[in-house]
Amino acid sequence: MSILVGRETRLVVQGITGREGTFHAAQMQEYGTRIVAGVTPGKGGQSALDGTVPVFDTVRQAVTEAGANTSVIYVPAAGAPDAILEAVAAGIATVFCITEHIPALDMLRVMPMVQAAGARLIGPNCPGATSPGQAKVGIIPGSIHLEGRIGLVSRSGTLTYEVVQALTDAGMGQSTCVGIGGDPIVGSTFIDILGLFRDDPDTEALVLMGEIGGDAEEQAAAWKREHMPETPMVAFIAGRTAPPGRRMGHAGAIISGSSGSAQDKIDALEVAEIRVAESPTEIPRLLQEAGVRRA
């Protein structure tokens, strides 16, 4: 098993005829992800990926005619909120929004609709998720993964790859790796993803990659302590040396006021008996010390 993506994933790629959509659709298909449809309004009737994938005008058609159950969005920021709304209105259960630079107020308006539809949104501004050996959705390089039993959740993009690579290099495979995105307003939080891992019998240990800003890591630490006390878990917090109040690349990474600092997060994690690595490369060793074996 795995979470969010897997063998049962029937993916529709929204924005499949765009530059990003075309490139990553090919990568995902090559990895083994079952792409059943693409959507580009006005290009319905065409096909993509060398004729293997039908293109529809609407997500609703992709659901009713191709049986899509999962969507990934490569639509530019101006159209991405509507693309999310379209996906959940069409009954898509899991939506990954890769698009970055979506205004926060747009996401505020979108979220109640996602929740009302009972759907799950990952992102925006996220790298997606991979269940090694089964499917990858998003932009995480497929080559760095190894099948296994470690669940990984991260707020960052390339930092995620770094850790996945370190785990794979150490012979520690992953059940699913999820990037939730670093924007101020994201569809799924650490806790949402940890909840899924808790219910996944194939996930035996956890890695959480946080960064400065907000209090999502503190919340996750408290939740983990209460709901999954037995599961080995290692964390990492990026931004220990970041100066307070200065913007670090994206809106998610501001230290605001007294909270959101790396030290507050590290303290909260340690209180919850979660080991915190000082470098991504330390993570495999800390997992081993917590009793996790190599694949």
């Binding site: 990003e20 920021a77 101006a78 970055e100 630079h101 979506i102 205004p103 926060a104 107020l105 747009d106 996401m107 505020l108 308006r109 979220m111 109640p112 790298p127 932009i139 995480i140 390089p141 080559s143 760095i144 991260s154 960052s156 993009g157 390339t158 930092l159 995620t160 790859y161 770094e162 690579q165 670093g182 101020p184 307003i185 990659m209 960064e211 400065i212 907000g214 209090d215 999502a216 919340q219 990492f236 990026a238 931004g239 220990r240 040396t241 970041a242 100066p243 200065r246 913007r247 670090m248 690349g249 994206h250 809106a251 998610g252 990474a253 006021g257 007294s258 470098s279 991504p280 490369t281």
Partner: protein
């Protein structure tokens, strides 16, 4: 993006909020002229306030009263040129000093965890609100606006009564709704009025009347939404920006200059912060934060390199790229190009992994002054060593 008090006030006025008149002056004599106009319009005193985008200007001496035009000029002369937390004061705001009866706090801010706009109010305004929130939490009132309906009338009333402003009900409701309108109209992350003051003024019949006035305003805008508000980009205060920041933004790079001597170029904010953390842990000092973003082309890499080298204190450069959307060979080519145009010779440690990393290694092999590394820890160690060697060699 933060904007100056005067610009924030303009955005509030555009939504119909009550703000006393003000003028912005860049010289002491302009400040005097502005003060003269306010005195002849009936002001008893004026307040001169440094326009800087950092907090604590009051404590730093950047806010002063003046009782006549000559005093206004003198005070303005003292404030202009002042250094407040590293920012040189280039402008002052001149406004009539209000006859304040009581100061309140009111703000609307993006609440990430709740995914709502959060309203915060307090009858203890005019001070640092973080302190009130921490020391006397019962003095704060919080409520969330609806993501589609905004702040509803009854919520504005609840807030009004909680703050004990019942005698100003209509005006308060209009002001609170105006905060939401300001947020929506400008895609703001934060709209703050502190103080929102009850001031005594002379009424139409000559007798005293009490009114609500927004005496100070702070607004931060959502960078991701600036493109749909063309007028707002003009409010960016270039006076307070490092020219390097301006160039970085033009190139679409995310760049922050720091104190150290090891220039860093990384793709992704989280990885960039991690790289800096590791540099510090290894005993080095990062000279900057630099995220070249996803899918960085070679010309963007070259621009990033120029930004790093423009900092004369940089003694070594660490490039850390995990290829995903970004392709390693593109980055490598950009580095080689940049190297060729480079005037000063700074040792460079390059780690490129992921997509097309092998091609990148080929491109970089044998180029003078470029060391390659495969592990992140190793790359960091080498960069720190290279910067030390430079210091030793100076």
């Amino acid at each position: 993006m933060k904007i100056q008090e005067a610009d924030a006030k303009s955005l509030l006025v555009a939504q119909g909020l009550p703000v006393p008149p003000w003028a912005v002056a860049r010289t002491a004599s302009d400040a005097r002229a502005a003060a003269e106009r306010l005195f002849s319009a009936g002001a008893d005193q004026v307040v001169i306030k440094a326009q800087v985008l950092v907090g604590g200007r009051g404590k730093a001496g950047g806010v002063k009263l003046a009782g006549d035009p000559a005093a206004a000029e003198e005070v303005a002369a003292a404030i202009l040129g002042m250094d407040i937390k590293g920012i040189i004061v280039r402008k002052v705001l001149v406004a009539p000093a209000a006859d304040i009866r009581h100061e309140y706090y009111l703000s609307a801010v993006l609440d990430r965890a709740a995914r709502r706009v959060l309203y915060m109010g307090s009858a203890e305004g005019g001070v640092e609100i973080e302190q009130v929130a921490e020391e006397r939490p019962e003095a704060m009132t919080y409520l969330h606006a609806h993501p589609h309906l905004g702040l509803q009338d009854f919520q504005a009333r609840e807030l009004c009564f909680a703050l004990g402003l019942g005698s100003h009900l209509k005006d308060f409701v209009r002001i609170a709704q105006g905060l939401h309108a300001t947020m929506i109209a400008n895609d703001a992350d934060l709209v703050e009025i502190n103080p929102l003051a009850v001031v005594r003024e002379t009424g139409p019949d000559g007798g005293p009347v009490e009114r609500l006035q927004a005496l100070d305003a702070k607004i931060t805008l959502d960078d991701s939404a600036l493109h749909r508000h063309p007028g707002l980009e003009e409010l960016r205060d270039l006076d307070e920006e490092d020219p390097v920041d301006i160039e970085a933004r033009a190139e679409g790079l995310s760049f922050i200059r720091l104190e150290g001597d090891i220039g860093c170029m990384v793709n992704g904010a989280g990885l960039a912060m991690t790289t800096m953390d590791l540099v510090k842990r290894a005993g080095g000092q990062p000279a900057n934060f630099l995220d070249i973003g996803g899918g960085a082309r070679s010309d963007k890499v070259a621009a990033a390199m120029r930004l790093i080298l423009a900092d004369r204190s940089v003694r070594a450069i660490l490039v850390n790229i995990f290829g995903g959307i970004a392709r390693g060979d593109e980055v490598a080519r950009g580095l080689v190009e940049a190297r060729e145009q480079q005037e000063r010779s700074v040792p460079m440690v390059v780690r490129i992994v992921g997509t097309n990393a092998e091609l990148a290694a080929e491109i970089l092999s044998g180029i003078d002054g470029i060391e390659t590394a495969t592990s992140l820890d190793d790359a960091v160690q080498r960069a720190v060593a290279a910067s030390r060697a430079q210091v030793a060699g100076t």
